[in-house]
């Protein structure tokens, strides 16, 4: 079995670390990572708990393929009740931390309670202990990682930590590992901060044992890697251009949310695109992009490592940011750029660096700035309130607000609550471009209809990583569908949602699904975990995870009314592009989706559905 069959339970209130056997009955039903951690969370907390109270729990979990030679097998998830949304939060990250957890012999870590003082968890194989983090509190993720490695005199330790944003309980704070990989959405970093848990540092040297049938696993993973290598997207497109190659595509099809979704096309999209990252800058003759990068075990290597222009106003007097570092990825470039009308690539990278350094989700941060800019242009927010002029398109305002939010200063504190709370406070809740209080990612659902349904029904609030129908509606993966129609989208969204849950639970990256289907994943899991892991079983696991998350949210107080989109997307037609004149047809898709899911017209899983899934 590819699980270590062991979890670590850390009671932060009492300061104890205890080993427990992994519940293998649950592993058999939920696989691992996203699925298994959700099962533990649902079983152990009251769904109505205050997300920032000691009664919430925070779980870091790997999947059975994490740490193995399966391509992209480096993923781990951070699961808790999310403070931004009040829904289940499950944020997934790459890098090397997840594999290290597995190498140390643990499948999962459950944090409960609240430490009376700042601490970090240090794990060295079987040994786990809480250590004083008073010297780390108030510092960045970057400093924390460097300091922990120095304190232990071991540069090979892997660290996940929060920055000032998590400490200050910014509601979209992230958990950063390996400097620029993030468990990024729903504010999991704020939960970590609320527990006075600064970091988790792991050194594991045991490797992964217990692969059920190693010769079969070697063959299955080798075959699957060949599929990735031979595929033009995962073998060539993603490594060379990264995710940001979508900027011009999504702009061309008229689905690039611009200026808080006022527009669907951005006149400066080309300036913040992957192609622009490759261009040489007039100022220093260097391209923004330095190289690509891969997470543990990944044979795609979509990551971007860039170098900011040292002469840019944001960093001219701050050499700390001159080195090569992570970014820009598509979502961050969109949220910090088009969402605010900012077409200054260097300013976007500066804001992105601050997000990585102090642990903030660039999507929610950027989108919240977009909402603030709209309120400013309407005269609802003033320069006096915000401390600076904040019109759409202002790179200066973006950079300054990133600093203020990361450091918890001035109006940055209000940005740090996310757009839903901020817009409601100023009398315009309709201007928050969010679902369940979580901000949209980079696709306007007037131009990609299926994404409207995917957003409305996502169990963690608006998100592209719960059901990425863009793959089909825009990119033709696995088959091309029409982005401008609602027909057939209910089935499409459900299929993407359920399959994605399996990829997440396995401990692999969802980007493999640009080349792999579950039929490519199944032989790897069967070889690693046992032949009983059939396609039929995997399909059931995906649907089970989705319904379990839904049940948690329903118990937390969410209803079908929350499966909704902001009025702008439902009543204000797109002004330009192929979707000109269209709004999102959620009302046509949602009832069909509930039917396809086996839920009542009110969005509640029926007894029959629950029984079928063993819930």
């Amino acid at each position: 079995m590819a699980w270590n069959r062991k979890l670590l339970r850390v009671n932060l209130t009492q300061g104890t670390c205890k080993e427990e056997p992994l519940n293998m009955e649950w592993a058999n039903e939920y696989l691992g990572s996203r699925g298994l951690s959700a099962k533990y969370l649902v079983s152990e907390i009251d769904p109505k708990v205050d997300p920032l109270s000691p009664e919430n729990k925070l779980i870091m979990a790997t999947g059975p393929l994490t740490g193995t030679m399966a391509s992209t097998g480096g993923r781990y998830t951070v699961t808790c009740k999310g403070p931004l949304t009040g829904a289940i939060a499950c944020s997934n990250s790459g890098g090397f931390f997840g594999a290290e957890m597995k190498f140390a012999g643990w499948d999962m870590i459950i944090f409960e309670g609240k430490s009376p003082k700042p601490v970090y968890l240090f794990i060295e194989n079987d040994k786990a202990e809480l250590r004083d983090a008073s010297h780390l509190w108030g510092t960045s993720c970057w400093h924390t990682e460097e300091q922990i490695k120095a304190d232990h005199q071991d540069p090979l330790i892997r660290v996940s930590s929060i920055g000032k944003a998590g400490e200050n309980q910014v509601l979209f704070a992230v958990v950063i590992n390996d400097l620029h990989r993030a468990a990024g959405r729903s504010g999991v970093g704020a939960v970590m901060g609320s527990k006075n848990l600064k970091a988790v540092a792991i050194r594991g040297t045991k490797g992964v044992s217990g692969i059920k049938d190693f010769p079969a696993f070697l063959k299955a993973t080798t075959d699957a890697k060949k599929v990735l290598a031979d595929n033009a997207v995962t073998g060539q497109g993603l490594p060379k251009f990264g995710t940001q190659v979508l900027m011009n595509v999504i702009n061309e099809i008229g689905a690039l949310p611009t200026r808080n979704h006022r527009d669907v096309q951005f006149e400066d999209a080309s300036k913040i695109s992957a192609e622009a990252m490759h261009e040489k800058r007039p100022s220093d003759g260097k391209s923004h992009l330095v190289t690509n990068a891969a997470c543990f075990g990944c044979t795609i290597a979509c990551g971007r490592i860039s170098q900011i222009d040292k002469n840019h106003f944001t960093v001219k007097n701050n050499p700390k940011y001159w080195g090569a570092s992570g970014g820009l990825e598509y979502e961050a470039a969109w949220a910090l750029g088009a969402a605010n009308g900012v077409g200054d690539l260097e300013a976007l990278q500066y804001a992105n660096l601050l997000c990585n350094e102090q642990g903030m989700d660039p999507i929610s941060f950027g989108a919240t700035v977009g909402a603030a800019m709209e309120l400013y242009e309407m005269g609802v927010l003033t320069k006096e309130q915000m401390g600076l002029d904040t019109p759409f398109g202002s790179a200066e305002a973006l950079a300054k607000l990133a600093e203020m939010t990361a450091n918890g200063e001035g109006f940055g504190k209000e940005i740090g609550e996310g757009s839903a709370r901020m817009c409601a406070r100023y009398g315009h809740p309709e201007l928050s471009m969010s679902v369940k209080k979580q901000e949209f990612p980079a696709y306007d659902s007037r131009g990609i209809q299926g994404m409207g349904l995917a957003y409305a029904t996502s169990n963690r609030g608006a998100c592209h990583l719960r059901g990425y129908t863009v793959a089909s509606e825009v990119l033709g993966i696995p088959v091309k569908t029409d982005p401008l129609v609602t027909e057939g989208k209910a089935e499409l969204v459900k299929a993407f949602q359920d399959a994605t849950a399996v990829f997440d639970a396995a401990g692999i990256c969802v980007f493999t699904s640009f080349a792999w289907t579950l039929a490519d994943v199944q032989p790897q899991l069967a070889a690693a975990c046992g032949e009983e892991w059939t396609m039929e079983k995997l399909n059931a696991v995906g649907e089970r995870i989705w319904n379990l998350e839904r049940q948690f949210n329903n118990a937390a107080g969410f209803t079908s009314k929350d499966d909704n989109l902001p009025p702008r997307l439902l009543t204000e037609p797109a002004k330009t592009g192929p979707a000109k004149g269209l709004v999102n047809g959620l009302d046509k898709m949602l009832p069909e989706y509930y039917k396809v899911r086996g839920w009542t017209p009110d969005g509640v899983p029926t007894a029959e559905t629950l029984a079928r899934l063993g819930l």
Partner: protein, 83 residues
């Protein structure tokens, strides 16, 4: 008639070297098809994966027969994805 012609990602190099950005303006004859331009700019057929005219997807089967109109914007990408 005039059209806008855009090549992106790894296809960018098929545009003239004096290009600015990813778009050039082309003077083409009436009835010019997408496939003719793909051939004219030496874009390998299998690399012309995502073909949009004015943002609308044109399936492979229509590329040889669909004539372009004055003012059209033709944009082509190789297989790409993101997230």
């Amino acid at each position: 008639m005039k059209i806008g012609f855009k090549l992106f990602a790894s296809l960018t190099d098929h545009l003239p070297s004096d290009r600015k950005g990813n778009r050039i303006e082309l003077e083409v004859g009436e009835g010019t098809t997408i496939s003719e331009l793909i051939v004219r700019f030496n874009v390998p057929e299998r690399s012309a994966h995502l073909v949009l005219v004015n943002g609308h997807f044109i399936p492979p089967a229509q590329r040889a027969s669909r004539p372009l109109a004055d003012g059209d914007e033709l944009a082509i990408w190789p297989p790409i994805a993101g997230g």
